[in-house]
């Protein structure tokens, strides 16, 4: 749980909620045509806490958030540019919503979708 102390009590935001914010941000991110479920056989479940929402993995450690996103990118776009913009958008959206620093966003390009051949 991501926690913030207030005079009236505690606010807890679950990693699943954070994953939802990230998911929204990723899907509106240009060049991303889908998120991909990571292969569970090779997935390492975080010891602390972990939540997944269709290809988004959120870990919260000592009030700091790290996020892994697994995406499908449109063939023909510049993958590095799209991935970088995913990092920026996810970090920005989550920090704006929660006010908690996102220390890292790792983008895993799991596949490409080919809609047109040039």
């Amino acid at each position: 749980m991501s926690e913030q102390e207030h005079s009236l009590g505690r606010i807890e935001v679950s990693p699943t909620a954070i994953a939802s914010i990230a998911d929204e941000a990723v899907l509106a991110c240009y060049g991303v045509v889908g998120t991909a479920a990571k292969n569970l056989a090779v997935g390492v479940v975080s010891a602390v806490s972990s939540a997944r929402k269709r290809g988004i993995e959120v870990r919260v450690e000592e009030g700091r958030i790290s996020i892994d996103v697994y995406v499908i990118i449109e063939y023909g776009t510049r993958i590095v540019a799209v991935a970088r913009s995913v990092m920026n958008v996810v970090k920005f959206s989550v920090e704006r919503a929660l006010g908690i620093p996102v220390v890292e966003v790792n983008v895993h390009v799991e596949g490409l979708r080919v809609s047109d051949i040039d």
Binding site: C29, V32, V82, N88, S93, D118
Partner: protein, 550 residues
Amino acid sequence: MADKESSTVVQQHPRLGTDGQGFKRLIKAALAWLQYHQNAINVLNVYPVPDGDTGTNMVLTMQSAWNEIKDSPEHNVGRVAHRMAHGALMGARGNSGVILSQVWRGFARSLDGKKVYRAPELAAACREAAATAYKGVVKPVEGTILTVARAVADSATRAEKDTDDLARMLERMVFAAHEAVMLTPSLLPVLKEAGVVDAGGQGLFVILEGMLRHMRGEPIAEDAQMADAVHLIATEVEPGEAGYGYDVQFLIVGQSLDVDQVRQRITEMGECPLVVGDPETVKVHVHVPDPGVPISYGAGLGSLRDVVVEDMQAQYRDFIAERDLTPAPATSQEIGVVAVVMGDGLASVFQSLGVEAIVRGGQTMNPSTQDLLEAAESLPARQVILLPNNGNVILAAEQACELGDKPIAVVPSRSIPQGLAALLAINYQADFETNVDVMASMMEDVKTGEVTTATRSATINGVKVTDGQIIGLHDGDLKVAGTKVEQVVLALLAEMDAAQCEIITLYYGADVSEDDAIALADLLQQTWSDQEIEVVFGGQPHYHYILSVE
């Protein structure tokens, strides 16, 4: 003999096609104009991440696209567009850069295998550009560059039905882009909160505007210092047959609305359609002659909110005012002249009178449309006048006008003396159209004589000529024939009524010595003692002498 229908002869031609080199110049202009607006676009950037780099990213993307094609001699527009799209892809920076690269990717795919694009191909390419851009995202966000790309595609599709002039079409597209950009805050709340329009959308508008300025021959400032010196030539976007009409906007609130169907119906109703939304709420924007039509249609689907109806004429005036349109008189850099000339002597005569580009050619070697177009486009001038100086070159020159992407006009000079007379009439303080008209009427005041050797035997205009004889032509018509050059020149000048004129100029050809030419002039002076006789080295092949009588 002056003012002989000159205004109809020399009217500015519509631009009907763009080839690979023309497209290159458009991209160059777009990049320069985008660079000029880079910081202004950066400031607008609040979405998706307010990092203030949209302008920079779009410039870097376009720069990479330009670098890919700038040295290419390719004329096939499909191939140039592909190279350029590839460059945009390789250099795509940031969210807006990636979208832009997709726009160009779709644009290029549609032009596959096309040597030249004309209005229908341009419209199709714009549609494919928008469609490709939309494919690159799961949840397209309206109020962004995507919205602007679709508005441009829609307006190109409409414009293509009304005109085949690419400049006129681009005018409509730029206007539609501007409209769509202005609507972005009402589509994307984060923009409205920040009080800005979408940065990427604005960037796309600027790119198109840069191209339009190039086509209209308007200046494109390359650095901030030039900004103050920028004055545009005001020409209003021509209204359609129904006039400007009204700008109509409203929201339809209902249940299970079919956004695509609404878009289709609204698009059929008028110009600059923009329909976005979801099954519960649809935002509609369209320009129509009768605002009642879309409003009634919308009211039939659900309840209407935020209905806005504005007079388009007033809106367009604001748009023009915003762009600081001040009619400015032409200055010397604004008009350039390309002349078709044979012979080194004549070339330097034309150059001494301010002709910036000479295309070699004449009677037996007509330059191609491409040669003329390249010469015209190579000039820094914003508008170009072509002097074909030969009846056989006029057609090629007129075709060059249609293909050029800056304004080009032909002053249809049929001979060297006509070309020179036209050139002497040029006034760099006057505007383009005035110059073209004045030049065309002035060239009618000069008579042309040509003296050459017949290459075959014939009887023309009642004059019997045998192969190898010397012949004299007055304004292209065979008038005299003889065995000696001097004798033919004398007879031809008499035929041309030289006694009524003031100046006789002899341009002697490559095969005539200066001494012979001066000797001939002395001989002529005995007959025409009141006239001023000039001898000028022309260096032209085939013609022993070209005579100008005025």
